[in-house]
């Protein structure tokens, strides 16, 4: 049986939750210095998994850097934002990360998330937090498919879920 898409589970990625006023210039500067990218608009990711920033909510970003650079990045964020109302915390080890790769990757995720994943609605660079079967997940689309983040405590469940959803014939319903 050929799979709809390839599911890859990654080892830890560097992730920092950054909360604060996303419109304030110290925060914007801190994010730019840490990742090289400006704060993305709602529902989007700027950059990629090695260096990137994701819009999580009106007062929350997810900053992604290589795992080994988390401590230095945190120190730099703290220095830039000193005295401001903000929160920056290392969540790298709290997360499980997957890539769902291939032309039918959207069909795999459509089976487990209540999201319109057609390229017209959810293009490359689009990001969304959602429900993946019984757990919370965050997904974004890139050139090769999708990356999926969830809590590491439910990482094995999510892996089984994605592999099971990938191991099936296409329905063709999504075009």
């Amino acid at each position: 049986m050929s799979d709809l898409a390839k599911v890859i589970r990654h080892s830890a990625r560097g992730m920092i939750t950054l909360r604060g006023d996303l419109t304030s210039s110290p925060l914007k500067k801190a994010v730019k210095a840490a990742t090289g990218y400006t704060v993305p608009k709602a529902g989007h990711i700027a950059g990629d998994d090695t260096k990137g920033v994701i819009w999580m909510s009106p007062d929350e970003l997810l900053v992604m850097v290589p795992y080994g650079e988390v401590e230095a990045t945190l120190a730099a964020l703290d220095k830039t934002l000193l005295g401001k109302h903000y929160l920056a915390v290392d969540v790298s080890d709290a997360r499980a990360v997957f890539t769902v790769e291939g032309a039918q990757a959207h069909e795999v995720l459509a089976r487990v998330c209540p999201v319109d994943l057609h390229a017209d609605s959810f293009a490359v660079g689009a990001f969304r937090r959602t429900r993946m079967a019984q757990v919370a997940a965050a997904i974004w689309r890139h050139e090769a498919g999708f990356d999926v983040i969830c809590f590491r405590s439910v990482g094995d469940y999510a892996e089984g879920l994605l592999r099971n959803a990938a191991a099936a014939a296409p329905t063709g319903a999504l075009g």
Binding site: G43, M56, P58, P114, R128, R129, T130, R131, A136
Partner: protein, 109 residues
């Protein structure tokens, strides 16, 4: 299936991505209030056939609370709006008036 647009992140969230938060625009009556006021705050709720205002939380998304105006009979959604308000905004009320002339809900009309 109920789909509500989260006013904070713009996501059109399907019902299972949301947590219901009960009736909207409740006024809190605490210490110093009468027994009737306190009872009303705790227990007395609208149960309308038609226009209704509710609180919802975008639980599987941005995590924020928001308000929704919808019709309990047809499931039509008139609109959603942020939580930082004690009454529905004018544009939402106008939209409801256009579709349900003469509507009334608690003190709003």
């Amino acid at each position: 299936m109920l789909i509500l647009e989260c006013p904070y992140c713009g996501v059109h969230a399907e019902e299972t991505e949301l947590s219901p938060g009960g009736e909207a625009h409740l006024k809190r009556f605490g210490p110093g209030s009468s027994e009737d006021e306190f009872e009303g705050y705790l227990f007395v709720r609208e149960n309308p056939k038609g226009v209704h205002f509710e609180r919802w939380r975008h639980a599987y998304g941005c995590g924020k609370w928001f308000h929704a105006a919808r019709c309990t009979t047809t499931l039509e959604v008139f609109g959603t709006y942020p939580a930082q308000t004690t009454e529905p905004p004018k544009d939402i009320k106008d939209k409801i008036s256009a579709k349900r002339p003469g509507w009334r809900w608690r003190d709003f009309a």
